[in-house]
């Protein structure tokens, strides 16, 4: 509170100083302006004095001799002096105190000059009153003091020593000078009063203006501040939006990496298993090849002309023994199976490797026409390890499905998420009583859209969480098993990046079907179905 008061006092003081300064400045302007006015007036008065001298008393006669009257010379000399110095000051130092006091003295001395030139005409005395009123323009009562003093002294001195010059008579009563001075003082009272009021008005005006300026400045400052704040907010918002966009992209990427990380171990397993039996079989074939060669060698001996003669009996016995030794029946049976299974194993491995290549198709900025059936087949192969222990997989892919414009890498990610979810749902549902799990993926072109159905016969989604399944970070899986990003990101990918739809049909206890719909025409995103 005291602090606020102190601040207020400081503000007031500052305001006072500022308004005082403004008032002084305004007065200075008035003084300068008036100085200039008087400079002009002085010049005019000088000309008027000379003209008056020439008109009223041009010549003087002493006997027959006529010469230019002394008035003319005195008007030129005195008037010139009176006018020159104030004009000089007014031009040289306008607004200075000395200037206006000098002007005041000079002005009333002009009055004296005019009175003298007019031969002390009483009417010319009005020039004094006019001059004083004029001096009041300064709004400085102090200029009236030397002016009045000069008038008084002039009247007094000339009234005593040269009454003709001031009153137009040879002899004047001394009180006349005092009376004139009294009238002058009488006017001074009003003029001083108006000067003081004028000056005070100037001060009040100045204070008002200063206050106004101050308020204006405050408002301007506030407006500036607000503008800046608004700008900062706008900037922050823009930045935030950019960051969010970046984060969203990173999230998609992170979820992809997470699922790839999970897949990697599974893929290794998927490759290690066939490698095991391919290598077992190949080693077996290597060993059995030598056994087969033994049999062939035995046969070759039979047709060798250099070989010793043998009876048919001996020959059959020999062959029969060898066949028995190499376990011929076993070989007949096992070798073709070993070759078949090795080839199957190699097919399996190359299919996985090819599927990995398809699945990890680099993402592109632009959509590309893609064969969704093949993409689904690859993705299912890549994540074989994730579902094979939970379910059988049926692919009912419509071969007539036209190419669909899409971001293939991200579409694969969605399929992967849905398949993994389906496998987990079946696994959870079948806890304790495994077997009978089934995942079906079906594709078809329906009404200008490609539809992909991913169905499982797991436990379905309970009513109370059905609304949450697409929420980020929502998961029912154990800690460490899922981040809860899969469906949120899948929906994002399908709706935002492809202008498609992702919906979920579920019957608790029976299973869940996720339906992806992608527009066949890239230019026409699917409208949100009712």
């Amino acid at each position: 509170m005291t602090e606020a008061m102190e601040q207020h006092q400081i503000d007031e003081l500052l305001l006072e100083i500022q308004s005082e300064e403004a008032a002084r400045e305004h007065l200075r302007q008035i003084h300068s302006r008036t100085d200039r006015l008087f400079a002009g007036l002085m010049a005019l008065q000088f000309l008027a004095a000379v003209l008056a001298a020439v008109i009223i008393t041009p010549r003087t006669w002493i006997g027959a001799e006529s010469s230019v009257h002394v008035h003319v010379y005195s008007a030129i000399a005195i008037g010139g002096t009176l006018a020159a110095f104030p004009i000089f000051l007014a031009l040289r130092c306008p607004g200075k105190t000395i200037t206006r006091h000098t002007i005041a003295v000079a002005q009333v001395m002009f009055s004296g000059l005019f009175i003298h030139l007019s031969g002390g005409r009483i009417e010319t005395h009005f020039h004094v009153f006019g001059s004083l009123a004029f001096l009041a323009f300064y709004r400085d009562w102090r200029v009236l003091v030397p002016a009045t003093a000069v008038v008084a002294v002039d009247h007094l001195v000339r009234g005593v020593f040269w009454p003709e010059s001031v009153f137009g008579v040879i002899a004047a009563a001394p009180w006349r000078a005092f009376e004139h001075a009294g009238w002058v003082l009488f006017e001074d009272i009003f003029l001083a009063y108006s000067c003081i009021r004028g000056a005070r008005e100037v001060r009040i005006m100045a204070e008002r203006r200063t206050r106004l300026e101050l308020v204006n400045a405050t408002i301007e400052k506030e407006v500036f501040q607000r503008t800046q704040e608004l700008q900062a907010q706008t900037d922050a918002l823009t930045r935030e939006m950019e960051e969010r966009k970046l984060l969203e992209n990173q999230l998609v990427e992170a979820q992809k990496l997470e699922s790839i990380g999970q897949l990697a171990a599974g893929i290794a397993h998927e490759i290690n298993t066939p490698t095991q039996y391919v290598s077992d079989n190949t080693r077996f074939l290597e060993k059995q090849f030598s056994n087969m060669m033994r049999v062939l060698d035995r046969y070759a001996e039979q047709i060798d002309p250099d070989a010793p003669a043998k009876s048919w009996q001996e020959r059959t016995e020999e062959i029969r023994t060898t066949l028995k030794e190499v376990k011929y029946d076993f070989l007949r049976q096992e070798i073709p199976a070993a070759i078949d299974q090795s080839l199957e194993g190699l097919d399996r491995i190359s299919k996985i490797v090819r599927a990995m290549k398809d699945f990890s198709h680099p993402g592109s900025e632009e959509k590309e026409e893609a064969d969704l059936n093949q993409a689904i087949d690859s993705t299912v192969t890549v994540c074989h390890n994730r579902w094979k222990y939970a379910a059988d997989m049926d692919l009912e892919l419509d071969p007539a499905l036209p190419p669909v414009p899409c971001h293939l890498a991200e579409f694969n990610q969605v399929i992967l998420n849905l398949v993994v979810n389906a496998a987990d749902a079946i696994h959870e549902h079948a806890e304790g009583a495994p077997g009978g799990g089934r995942i079906v993926i079906r594709t078809a072109a329906v009404d200008g859209a490609a539809e992909v159905h991913v169905s499982d016969n797991g436990g379905g989604i309970p009513d109370d969480i059905r609304e949450n399944i697409f929420d980020p970070f929502f998961t029912t899986k154990d800690v460490g098993k899922g981040t809860g990003q899969g469906l949120a990101i899948s929906r994002d990918i399908i709706t935002k990046k492809h202008g498609g739809q992702l919906r979920c049909d579920t019957v608790p206890g029976e299973g869940t079907t996720f339906v992806i719909r992608l527009p066949l025409d890239d230019a026409e995103p699917l409208r949100e179905a009712a």
Partner: protein
């Protein structure tokens, strides 16, 4: 053990082609091995019911019942059966979590020779140990008990950001239950290391402290005794004594200017030298107790009393258990022959046996690990000698 009859081997894998491949691979062995093949865990249990197998080699991931569950079941119902996992999995953490009932992991793809060696080795050990029917004492064991105080210390060390593998290793080394489990993990074929790891701190580096922390916390890897367990204090004392023996053996190896690897092996063999006692006390508490009584009366040695009461000695059971868990032959031999080294064929100073024998014949700080008589002649032949009751040099 079954030198006369053929060995019963049961393969389990949900991929029929893997079973076919194995059948063809071991076709030549059909005279020594009687092989059966089960396409699922349930089929395997059915076949075991018909006729128990000596060795089960199972895949890990299978629909419904997986390999870990199958081997767990087999451990309970057929404790004498040797239990192997043959898996294509590469996820270490997942495998280690399921190590409980598993004697050894073998990584797919593996050559028939490697699998053959692993199987044959355990059988050879069993034959050497002259078990008769008592091999189940070793095979039935899932893991050795862990002292709760040391387990808590391990958790604290794992949570401490300043602790490194060496500091954590020093904690683990004091508990034989944790030591054996960690070394079993890293020495299983799954890690595919070219040599056997003997130092606990190396094992911790290989597993990684983060993994170890996860494994320790799940509580599925270590068999931690409860604080009020009756055997808890005696196990704690036994583990402490064995850690001392291990340290002593390592010192002796160092004094004899052996390289670090030999010192590590000597420490490990010394530390593990008395696990047989824990196994016997755990599996046959009453009979073992009467053997201890018999020996303490002074009429006979503990080993003879064990042989009489239980049909095996603690060294034999301990060595066989280590063999089952895939420990190096040297460690197995050192544990097996620690009391009577002359009965083995070890004649090298780079073998841990001399140092374990010396350590055992000089250590006398615990009644649980009684001092043994030094085999002076055998030591002489190696150029070593012992001064009874003091360290040898």
């Amino acid at each position: 053990m079954r030198s006369e009859e053929s060995l019963e081997v049961l393969f389990v894998d949900d991929e029929k082609r893997v079973l076919d491949g194995l059948r063809r691979s071991f076709f030549d062995k059909s005279e020594d091995w009687s092989m059966r093949f089960a396409p699922s865990a349930e089929d395997a249990l059915r076949l075991m019911d018909e006729r128990p197998a000596d060795v089960v080699i199972s895949d890990m991931r299978m629909p419904s019942m997986d390999g870990a569950a199958l081997l767990g079941e087999i451990r309970l119902r057929w404790p004498a059966t040797v239990r192997f996992i043959l898996s294509g999995q590469t996820n270490q953490a997942e495998l280690m979590e399921n190590i409980g009932a598993v004697h050894q992991f073998v990584q797919k793809p593996c050559t028939p020779d490697a699998l053959d060696r692993a199987v044959t080795r355990t059988l050879r050990l069993a034959a050497q140990m002259e078990f008769g029917s008592r091999s189940a004492l070793a095979t039935s064991l899932g893991s050795l008990p862990v002292v709760p105080d040391i387990y808590r210390e391990l958790l604290a060390a794992l949570d401490d950001v300043d602790s490194d593998a060496e500091m954590i290793g020093r904690v683990v080394e004091r508990d034989i239950g944790m030591t054996t489990k960690l070394l079993q993990m890293v020495n299983s074929a799954f890690f595919g290391l070219p040599r056997h790891v003997c130092a606990v701190k190396d094992a911790i580096v290989l597993i990684g402290t983060a993994n170890l922390r996860e494994l320790a916390i799940t509580g599925r890897v270590f068999d931690v005794l409860s604080d009020d367990s009756r055997s808890s204090s005696s196990i704690a004392e036994l583990w402490k004594a064995s850690a001392d023996v291990g340290a002593l053996a390592a010192d002796l190896a160092r004094v004899n200017r052996q390289p670090v690897a030999v010192c590590d092996a000597a420490r490990l063999a010394g530390t593990l030298s008395v696990i047989g006692r824990a196994i016997l006390a755990h599996s046959e508490p009453d009979r073992f107790a009467s053997a201890v009584d018999e020996a303490s009366s002074g009429r006979t040695t503990l080993n003879d009393a064990e042989a009489m009461e239980l049909g095996v000695t603690q060294q034999t059971v301990g060595a066989y258990a280590l063999g089952l868990w895939g420990f190096d032959d040297e460690i197995v031999e050192a544990v097996a022959h620690q009391t009577e080294p002359e009965r083995g064929h070890v004649r090298e100073l780079s073998h841990p046996l001399p140092y374990v024998h010396l350590a055992r014949s000089s250590y006398q700080n615990s009644l649980l690990v009684p001092r043994i008589t030094p085999a002076d002649e055998w030591l002489d032949s190696l150029g070593l000698y012992s001064t009874t009751g003091s360290k040898a040099a």
